[in-house]
Amino acid sequence: MAKVIEGLYYSESHEYVRVEGEVAYIGITDYAQHALGNVVYVDMPDADDEFEQEEGFGAVESVKAASDLNSPVSIKVLEVNEALEDEPELLNKDAFENWIIKVELTDKSQLDKLMDAKAYEAFCAQ
């Protein structure tokens, strides 16, 4: 069973947003890493890049397929998780612990449109 964590915001394309004060962390969910299988490459943006809500900001690749990363909310990238450059498999080990980008939210009201843990769990069970 895929793990879901309380207190995070979830998108239908299986990204999560963890808000901590003025910054937030975005990554893929445990359900997503399961579905992908062995992650072999993470395509990440650069610091200072800006993305609109639902815009693609990168990709996660398994042996067989590339899966686009879409920004659940509008963001400005502060930092990327450089550990994933050398060890993309960290996403398989713990997708929630290993965030992909640290961001500034440019429109916090967009969080309201995302799912909470309970809703996301139900969404995955469909």
């Binding site: 062995n38 072999v40 395509d43 690749e61 042996v63 067989k64």
Partner: protein
Amino acid sequence: MQNKTTCLYDKHVKLGALMSPFAGYEMPIQYTDITSEHNAVRHHCGVFDVSHMGEVIVSGHDAEKYVNHIFTNDFTGVPSGKVLYGMFCYPDGGVVDDTCISKLDTNLYLMTINASNIDKDVAWFEENAKGYDVVLCHKSEYYGQLAVQGPEAEEKVQELLGIKCDDLKFYEVKTVEKFDETIIISRTGYTGEDGFEIYGTHKFIVDCWDKLIAGGVTPCGLGCRDTLRFEAGLPLYGDELTDKISPVMAGLSMFAKFDKEEFIGKEALLKQKTEGVAQRLRGIELEGNAIPRHGYKILKDGKEVGEVTTGYRLISVDKSCAVALVDADIKLGDQVEVQIRKKIFPGTVIKKKFYETKYKK
């Protein structure tokens, strides 16, 4: 249209395989994960259900003459018990299909064809059989097929299936009488490792599968079949060979025998070989871990020069590599760029065999 299933469908489901449509069949992509199945074949032994592949038997007085007419390789003077790889080509040199043909006996040939091409191939065989005294027998529904691959394949086939195969050399084939049926076994495969392909009735194939799995052979899906064949530099019809990508463009003209009197496509291919082609397949090794996928653009000095046919983060070697169809002036050692989404990655043109194959010659 509902997808077909092979005789091993229930076995795949029971093993928890991820099933997916492929060439009109519900086929296993992976049982556990691509990487561990790939490594099982490289280091030990894996078994693939390849029952979706098509089989056509050619017999009759003109069988050899007919096979030599439709096939780029040459059976002239080749003894029974040999397998040849080659292509069926259109008159313009484009490829109908690539195939292994087994010479089972004088004027008795088994043509193994890609599942995705069965209907097209069979129609093409019949169309080109006019004037030849041959019988074409379409046996795809009759035969199931297993590929047992890896350095331990010989031992596993002999011990677990009781089929003697250490007498077969690479690309040799024989028939064996077993359980009141005639099965076919060849020392061939699509992985770059030693191994065997076995053809028989559905009942026989299911029985072999059970024995191999019980004996510790790893069940392997189509996912690692593709990573294995790609590392070994073997083409996949639809990616590296198509009706637009000829054997000469694919760098496979050694499988077209131009000293043969005639075969369909000979003139066009000979012209391509002597006058040159506009584009050809090259290997590219990427700098970085990004993965060049089918259809991604290849650039040189910012100008588009081709596109990727297949690419992977390799499993046996720590590299990202692609095979790409590029302009003919792109040579070995050249620096090119691969566009992956919004980023550009530098790469070097190399030979398109990325792994040292380990066949038992």
